[in-house]
Subunit: 467 residues, 2 copies
């Protein structure tokens, strides 16, 4: 795995803070090597960088106490949700204290009339939806992993149904956070919109824990639709599939999901799940609404797809059949792994204007062929966002080098197309160089903000911005 240089360690400060916090938190404070290793490395290609201790607070005031102690001694603080981030967001390059939010997992309020709820950051999206089941409401953001809501906010997560429901930035009404000096703040309230001052809510969303530690979230909820329909359609080429996506959006069809699988991914899924899909690009869709509305949306999409060369169009609102249609998508991760047994998967994501989606996917496929890398592609096509999974042999340094180069090339491609080096995974340690390439002088003002709010650089140091 690629190693990222460690940042300098404040040994004396760490020792002092560990002493203070061990006393306060008892068995909720751990310096066990295995626990620290478990928290220093997640589903990422960046090598493990464990913290010095892991603490599981149960209240905001406890988080404030941890941050205050770390602030007093200039010791790093790394917030940790479920460890499913992909760009090294929870690594501890300068050591320090990891705050594990697994014990702050209470759902504090569900306001059915207002379609909102208040949760602690350790609540996972699936746990929230289980809790909401009887209310007729749901929380839509689905990044795949059963991530914590605090972590999802911190990385500005989205996923398959962002095309309809938006990303975390669109579904968080307000946050409570502990700032680097230990101060607890609320960035907003339960009003569904506000023009009151700077948007600190959106500033903390996507800040990856570098500006404040999120301790509470007020989230927007949505009514569970009366009906859900799913559809799938094969296309002769990536270009035809992408044209169908564009036409669908222009037509104003309120698709809830519109996912693109390239031929290699379809091939992987066929092998893994014993399916017999044509090994061509595939679109998978979901429609939410009334019974009549989802039928109308499905039919309308079918007509659009047919005009653009779509084949084997199927739609259904039967739950069992829906699951079968989406089987291909659900199995992608495991199916991809089987394409090259023993390989490690390096996942990366970019997002481009949808008019450039086909061109960027084709270019990535060509580049993979040229550089002899296996790189199946799955995209949230409605957003112009796609994931590319590089299947590499971790023990082959030369192959790792090619994979690194490939990721660099892909990020540059996105930037050259007026897109972004990350649609939903975040910058972490993995994409710091590309952030600078993408936003240039704007990153200077990000650095000014970071320095103003966290002058000691204690909150998740070594992420997003170089210091």
């Amino acid at each position: 795995m690629t190693a990222i240089a460690a940042i300098s360690r404040n040994e004396a400060g760490i020792k002092t803070v560990c002493g203070v916090l061990a006393q306060r938190f008892g068995d909720r404070f751990s310096t066990s090597a295995s626990i620290c290793m478990h928290h220093g490395h997640t589903t990422t290609w960046i090598a493990n960088q464990p913290p010095d201790a892991v603490i599981s607070p149960r209240e905001t005031e406890e988080v404030a106490a941890i941050v205050s102690a770390c602030s007093d001694h200039a010791v790093p603080v790394i917030p940790y949700g479920t460890g499913t981030s992909l760009e090294g967001q929870v690594n501890a390059p300068g050591g320090g204290i990891c705050i594990d939010f697994s014990e702050m997992n209470r759902i504090l309020a569900v306001n059915e009339d207002d379609l909102d709820c208040i949760v602690e950051p350790g609540v996972t999206r699936k746990a929230l939806n289980v809790h909401l089941r009887d209310s007729g409401l749901f929380f839509p953001i689905d990044p795949g992993a059963d991530a914590s809501l605090g972590g999802m906010a911190s990385t500005r997560a989205s996923g398959t149904n962002a095309v309809r429901y938006g990303t975390m930035k669109d579904n968080v009404l307000a946050l409570e956070a502990v700032m680097p000096d230990g101060q607890i703040i609320s960035t907003g309230n339960r009003a569904s919109k506000s023009s009151a001052g700077y948007d600190l809510t959106r500033l903390l969303i996507g800040a990856e824990g570098t500006l404040g530690v999120i301790t509470r979230l007020t989230l927007k909820l949505h009514g569970i639709p009366e009906a859900i329909a799913s559809a799938s359609c094969c296309f002769p080429s990536i270009d035809d599939a992408c044209q169908a996506v564009i036409a669908t959006k222009q037509y104003g069809l309120p698709v809830a999901r519109i996912e693109l699988l390239d031929h290699l991914t379809v091939k992987a899924v066929n092998a893994y799940s014993k399916l017999a899909l044509p090994e061509t690009p595939l679109l998978l869709l979901e429609f939410h609404g009334s019974n009549d509305s989802v039928a109308e949306q499905s039919t309308d999409f079918g007509e659009i797809a047919e005009e653009l060369g779509g084949e084997r169009f199927i739609w259904t609102s039967n739950d069992e059949e829906r699951n079968r249609l989406w089987q291909a998508r659900h199995d992608v991760y495991w199916a991809t792994l089987r394409l090259r047994p023993g390989a490690t998967v390096f996942v990366t994501d970019i997002c481009v204007p949808i008019s450039r989606l086909a061109e960027s996917v084709r270019a990535a496929q060509d580049k993979a062929t040229e550089t002899k890398l296996l790189a199946p592609i799955v995209g949230h096509a409605g957003d112009g966002n796609f994931h590319l999974s590089l299947l590499v042999d971790e023990n082959d340094a030369e192959e790792i080098r090619r994979a690194d180069e490939f990721v660099g090339w892909l990020n540059e491609l996105a930037i050259s197309m007026d897109g972004t080096c990350t649609g939903e995974h975040g910058i972490g340690q993995g994409k710091m160089a590309y952030l600078e390439r993408e936003l240039g002088a704007a990153t200077r003002y990000m650095a000014s903000i970071k320095s103003a709010i966290d002058p000691l650089n204690i909150l998740n140091p070594g992420k997003i911005l170089q210091f």
Copy 2:
């Protein structure tokens, strides 16, 4: 009118900068008293505070030159769109240079496949929609006034159809801005979502020109719906009307507009437009979708309304009849003025969780009666946001005092209900005290950000935050 204390003037700096800029901008630079007065006071209850000069740049580089000159001499810069803000956002309490964006009004690109466009800040929302007419696309945010898009972004504007399409924060993909040191930055690109670094786009939206001067906007567009239906329904009480709004949202009906008029507003409109609506609370709605879908939505709403005491429910998708139904809403401003000829209207807005909307509207009505003020109410009910228009005699100091007190009381009410002192008008000079009350310690971090980015406090000083 209420006067707000001026901030100290940098006479020497202003004189020098005026000399430099007069030479560069020729007849696009003006110190004419009438022009300066015109730019120092808008549709607001705050007394005029003119700038020392008004300049109309035509290019971003010219804006950068103005800001650089002002930065060199610590002179205030006040961006000006159409002057339709409501809380003193364009006043110049310390004098300085007003940048009038009326000549930066080009639509630079419309990307139909990507449903986005790039515009200069002086383009108004109506001008954009006229330009888009043949593309099948539209820009939905409608704050009432034909405001400039730069101004709308700066105040985080929304309006009648935010319930479906969101606010400016949801419809701006990226901004170009001139920062206080004269640096030009881009905060993003044309990707429909991004997790790349701090969300500077959302930080500048709603910053009212205090952190950067917006010189270009990349906006999301939406497909013009195939059909539009309108509906109206009378309710015996504010509570019944608000219950219908809540039920409609819970049901998941994707209403495009859902407006509440209180009985006093209906009375005003009846008198002004020779209508004969029952003088009870009224809901006006709009539905967007396919022909079948808007019919279904209208019928569904009719059933919800009927269960909750709604009367005289009507819906139509005929354009002429739709306009007639919405006549009451379109005439509100002029009709309100006629309620008390010669009076001045002080408009204020708050936003509360919709479960508290009925209670807050009733409390405001009671308070108006108690304090002998005429205060008709119109609300963007789907967002829990309402406007209250105080009709006051500008020459009656005691009445002005009561109106001021009323606004203070209303803001406190919103805050006590876990709402905000402004849903869409912004803080400006008018609501600075309430921002502090609403967000407490969070405002300290807003001040840190302001100081870090604009250490000389030259960008629109005296707005949002006290310095």
